[in-house]
Point group: C2
Amino acid sequence: MLKIVKIGGNIVDNPEKLDSFLAGFAALEGSKILVHGGGKIATAVSKGLGVEARMIDGRRVTDAETLKVVTMVYAGLVNKTIVAKLQALGCNAFGLCGADGNLIPSVKRNPVPIDFGYVGDPVAGRFGIATARTLIDAGFSPVVAPVTHSGDGTLLNTNADTIAQTVAVGLATHYDVELVYCFEKPGVLADVNDEGSVIPHITPASFVDLRAQGVVSDGMIPKLENAFAAIAGGVRAVVICGSERLLTSGYGGTTCAG
Amino acid sequence: MLKIVKIGGNIVDNPEKLDSFLAGFAALEGSKILVHGGGKIATAVSKGLGVEARMIDGRRVTDAETLKVVTMVYAGLVNKTIVAKLQALGCNAFGLCGADGNLIPSVKRNPVPIDFGYVGDPVAGRFGIATARTLIDAGFSPVVAPVTHSGDGTLLNTNADTIAQTVAVGLATHYDVELVYCFEKPGVLADVNDEGSVIPHITPASFVDLRAQGVVSDGMIPKLENAFAAIAGGVRAVVICGSERLLTSGYGGTTCAG
């Protein structure tokens, strides 16, 4: 089995949470890939460099200067810090972004109707399977930063959830893939105010019910839609869980499966 | 044959020089590795972030904040910019630093007598041959940033010339290695004021003569000493040349061989 684990900025930004997560990740058995988000470090670096954050509809616009910061922070500082920490934990980590070995060919998002700048979306069916297999089959644990490229020399800022899904679906033809999304909550909750109310399993059918009953909240709906899209793409299971229970059965979270 | 080409900050900092160099590098036949230095971008980023450059004996001290900038700029911005450009030129580049796949285990330099901070020297005999071979044998062109690690989770700033030499000597047991140092001049000059006076070949014996006659200048002596140390370590030839004639025979520079 190949495990693909995604962590977001909330873990990357918190040294204790990150160290505890990485200890769990390093101890996971078998082949594994870590996909990480960026976090607030990029915002702090942008501010320090006088790069103004421009937002449209609450979403950051990646202009040329912001892209430089994103590349520095995500593919440089965050990626290599994680790799060095995993190496110290005995995990043979290998950091890369979507440009390396042409892992994730992307297309710059259409500037119409909204120009988000240097933001890219992976091109379906062009994931670099051979590149990923070279690393995995050699025993490395790839650590993937959310930066891709368009193939004409342009780097692109890319959503880390999308990267994780692209990697998972791309490798599902060659491996039995489990995709694990770590986030702030321990899983999908039946009651948003009760962290003990994790729903252990969701199927496409029960998702329809949960949605109709209004149990799953607004923020969770796109996550679950992505999860079932990954499953439709060949991924065996998608787990939504917290970052601190990687070594618990089912990660103490919600497993989505077909 | 495996070609290992090193470029310094003077090329990295100059977009036209860099593009012209990369076009040459991409067109080189056979297996190849690019090792790059950092350049002044790190200084600019440090300044922007309010990180003060501290120097001892004219050499930069890498404190914790400077190490972050070095990691961001060298292993992030510079490395991924080069990778994306090479990919656009049809070269299957793969960026990494010395922590990735444990390529270059290093040791933090002794703080006595001078504490240069997070600066590392590669440990002799521990170069990650298997990691490098995995990439090379899969047809990738590794692009190596001058950042290494000590294995306990600490990243270290490492001299790019030293990285190039470490990679070359480390791989000389498996490949027929040529090491190419690109710098500001077209080669070792018989007359420092005449760029047409490139000395085409230097042997250990002729190096002794050139040195005795005072032909090679102060700055060139350590470069040539490193070159002959690499040759003593099994590298077939070391070329010292400019960055713009990579496709010329002998690179239009000075070839040092045993």
